[in-house]
Symmetry: D2
Subunit: 377 residues, 4 copies
């Protein structure tokens, strides 16, 4: 198997024209699409409808190419979006494909591997609880199997989109005599992300089942997964999981690496992941090397201590701009400076995803040698 990854721009959240063109000209076959991960230009909060708009548009497009109802495709092709293109960030989406085309086995020892899975609908009364975590872990294991990745050490990035509660859903729970696991939508989004991150950690062995305690969610940040990226949103009911890693069962020119960011300004981690992938030592990836970039995924979080390197920040007490909007903009600026490219998936809400106040970065790129070979042809 061979992974193919396309990073495409959009003019607005309902604009799938770039993908439509690639489907039309045969560059992408609809049946090969495993998942789509994207960054839309909404506010990234509960009332960010750019995610639903893009998803509906994507599923309509795929429905035309696959001759299946859009609702059905939505259950098998995860479309995981993070709203918010603050600062220099550019709206875009990454199409992850699995092709049967295979190169000669000698050409590559290991290459990018992609897997996906969707859980059943999450009961609203479990959103953000330990039961939610167990359901996510089960889906991560299913996605690893789908990708042919046996060893958690080969995982570099696990993207989960988990449902959250809204005021309507909370009211429905209460009307049904059930206890809502969160007092409001904002808190629910955060708890769902925590439950999802712990689900990845459970699947990778970063935490043990005996250590799972949802009273620690959003409190004990010593527990985290270094490879989890969790979004939560009103528009999904199940847990959608996409795993990305390296596997000898796959071939082709694509590689992935990741680094943990110790804090929001950890430029060394950002530069480090480019070094891992064989990029030259220039401060900013140059125009020519940028062609190797296929996708950049970043998780980050406003430091809950209220400080960075000993100086106060104001993200947590701002009534005008959501803290997640603040941090996405800042980290996006930093990563864009290193990458020379603004089409970066930067997602806030990194609770338990990387260390307290920090986060993680994963990058997919064509192998340096593959590039040179290509140039030689």
């Amino acid at each position: 198997m061979q992974a193919k990854v396309f990073r495409l721009s959009m003019a607005h959240p309902g604009d799938l024209s770039a993908l439509a063109a690639l489907l039309d000209d045969g560059t992408i076959r609809a049946a090969e699409i495993v998942a789509v991960i994207g960054k839309t230009e909404g506010n990234g909060g509960v009332n960010d409808f750019t995610r639903g708009y893009f998803t509906d548009s994507l599923m309509s497009l795929l429905a035309r190419h696959l001759n299946r109802p859009p609702e059905e495709i939505a259950r098998t092709v995860p479309c995981i979006l993070s709203g918010g293109t603050e600062g220099v960030l550019s709206p875009h989406y990454v199409v992850l494909c699995r092709s049967a085309e295979s190169l000669a086995p000698s050409e590559s020892v290991a290459a990018l591997a992609i897997g996906a899975a969707c859980s059943g609908d999450t009961p609203f009364e479990t959103v953000g609880t330990a039961d939610h975590t167990r359901a996510v872990a089960q889906s991560v294991r299913a996605a690893m199997a789908d990708a042919g990745i046996d060893d958690p050490a080969d995982l570099h990035f696990v993207q989960v989109k988990a449902p959250c509660l809204t005021s309507d859903r909370i009211a429905a729970l209460q009307a049904a005599g059930l206890t809502s696991p969160a007092p409001n939508a904002g808190v629910s989004m955060a708890r769902a992300r925590a439950a999802g991150a712990m689900g990845v950690a459970l699947a990778t062995g970063e935490i043990d089942e005996s250590e799972l305690d949802d009273r620690e969610f959003l409190k004990n940040f010593d527990r985290f997964s270094s490879r989890a990226s969790i979004s939560s949103g009103v528009e999904v009911l199940c847990n959608e999981v996409v795993v990305l890693g390296m596997s000898p069962a796959w071939n082709g020119p694509l590689r992935i690496s990741h680094r943990v960011m110790a804090d929001a300004i950890d430029i060394a981690a950002v530069r480090g992941v480019f070094s891992d992938l064989g990029f030259s030592g220039a401060l900013q990836v140059g125009a020519q090397e940028r062609d190797r970039l296929r996708a950049m995924f970043v998780k980050c979080e406003p430091d809950q201590s209220g400080q960075i390197h000993g100086a106060r920040h104001t993200m947590l007490n701002d009534t005008d701009i959501d803290p997640q909007r603040h941090i996405r903009g800042a980290v996006g600026g930093l990563v864009a400076g290193v990458a020379g490219d603004t089409r970066i998936f930067v997602s806030g809400g990194a609770e338990h995803q990387g260390p307290f106040g920090g986060g993680l970065i994963a990058v997919i790129a064509e192998a340096a040698e593959a590039c040179k070979e290509g140039q030689a042809q």
Copy 2:
């Protein structure tokens, strides 16, 4: 003469306790304060009252130490603030002092020089026009004379705070039968910044008097000053100017350098200014070297083309977050990553201040050798 520069944190926009302590213990003498440049945690727009709050608090404090009325001090000690600490940025202020203490002339060839000037009140009907530009240029020349800087080539940073119109002031102009030079407050802020930048360019010779045409303001961005930093705000009536440069007439350990940023993600320019000042080549300035940092000033601007490195950004079309808030957050994240320090003066609205879509960065630091000597003692 010797320049002394103190970078101080504040807990809120009315908190001058750090300066009060240094005045109380004699580290700073109130009469030596030439100017204060700071970053407060407002929205940076017309209705950002954190600037007025800080200024009133500062002038009350200085009034107690100088035994002069605060209104009078406000006319001789420029207090230039930029609102908005988006992302990782930290509220702080830089106190620029001029001390009569002098080292032996042999110790230093040239050192940081500071000068300041305030114009008379700007007639509201001239705000943002060529007349405004000429008034600013006159004040820049006065501030250079104050600093003992003869050659514009020795200037590294010129900070101007210029008045702008509000809806009240526009109504007053119209009531008086005068034409308002701007249709609303937002436009007036931008035009005042343009007029100020051209004023610096006129004083430095970057443009010639014959080239001055206010119909080009906010339109012809090929005309710019590479050393101008202009804020505009409702709380000043005159043009406050502070110049920073290098002069052999000054001594002491402080140095200043600046670089032009070609675009908002120009990490090479940011790193370059640290190299100019003799910082080691580490990707991020380390904890120990950070002690040399005295002030960082950055101007930036959302690229009006709507693109950065060929990819669309969304800053210009956002009804929820002002474009200037977006760009400050992004550039702040980038500079903090390099500096390892978040107390950075990042000011948006860089029209005609650096190239189109770009900006500039100036840094004050203790000379490397001075630091080593200090450690040797």
Copy 3:
């Protein structure tokens, strides 16, 4: 002919389930839908994608029922949306239908009449100019003919959705060597609304062709239409026009009336339109009488003088919340207090739509006698 009007709630901007149910059970026949006017929960600005999301979803639904491509339906069934449900306002849409069902001619002297028209695509270089105005006037006349309304005095509400420029479109104009009629997207939205309002005034005779001068747009507010409601947005290319009035050629129980609001707190105008329609004198329309309400349309505007009844307001100088969001919330609260109902189409940007600082309100309701007859059955 008989008009039918349905006011339906939505759970999110892509939720057309209420209309789908009425189409499924035969209450509404898709071919009878003349236009849809709605209020979605976006920010109402340039980057409000809830309008596009709703429109795409509506056209997909109608396409399934009409067996025609959605793009084609979009050109013949105007879908005019105003984003922003600030304060108590509730997201909803009004489906305007024209039914061939006819009552005996004696039953009604005049009843609600509905007409619609779409112009050709508006050249971007004419957006917000006098040419734009002429094109809108032509479409209003076409919509009046479509409604069978001859006398402009019988018009009570003319809704226009006009295109505006974006930064991309401005860049395209400039690249093509054309002058952009607006410097940025925000200004373009306002100018497009002005051009549209003058277009209605031209068609109704409120202004004369000889008085049309686009240099007066957004400046001379003595020129206005008392029946125009103009939205502008990035998602349309043509001018979509819907006219609502009274005509003896129509029958059925529905009536429409309108009033001019002198300012944003003109409660007498709001109450007046309910009196016109025969509602009882209670301060708030009671639960039972509310069943007669079919649609409420309001246009309003933050007073550009900066004052209301002599006291300063802060809407025009707020960098955090757009002035239009402010005014929609305030006027929505006032009208909801009188109507006892929050599903009100309140649209800002009322330049030249009603008097300076004021606006207008139009209400569709079942005639009082019709209601009583209904109860008697």
Copy 4:
């Protein structure tokens, strides 16, 4: 004793010029000022510094007139501000004075009475708990004694400003090994308001000490005070209490009345309070009668059910605009429509202040007969 009430406009949050003029011309004597209640044009959230700015400016002004240090005055003259002048609301402040001037006892049976009290500093670990409630109740009783009001039935409005936690204060508590009573600043503000409202209810007998249980705060909204108005903010450490009521021990022309608002669009309650005070039956208070208005105080709250009169609102799920900003704007529009005047103190966060989803309104006005007498003179 006689109450005097002055409602004054401000040009910005540091503008006390209107009060300064009245102090200078002897209309107000500084020593007679009991309290100041105002509405400043900030965002009303944790990072709203307009409250601190106004307070500092007020205390500086009073210090000059009273020859006492501003910090000391701040402890005896409550200055209670609510940030946020959304929509049509106008920034203003109400100066409540107690004059020794007395009319002949026969002239008035009862008149407006004013009292105030400040508690000691609230320990941060008790903010928003039952202990906080008891401290507030004690201060309410002290303020009633100060006003000479014995019977809680004569109370019409009790304004409390209570401290809340910030991220810094929460960190300090945790560093000290104490449990923070709230996870973040936003939640703390809400809990402090709940604790304060229950403190008023305890003092008035609306709840009994045995019914006080802080686990019910923000949950059981059946418990509320119909006369409590609670603000919370970072800028106070003690609980500041001002009580307003009617008392035969006072005389003069001023009267106060209040009504409970059943929901956010309860126009009947708003109109009712004007009827209570003898205003004529016009839909909007006319220009001449408006001269009688001295102060309007309103508390309101976005309905936590997510609905108003059965229709969904979007206030609770908005990431861009705080729910309290939404509701203030809407209710401000409604009350301004009835009053014909936009200088209204509309404060959100009405948890336990009036019924669930509703609130309350209190108005101070000159008695109708007093006005007529005045005109007769």
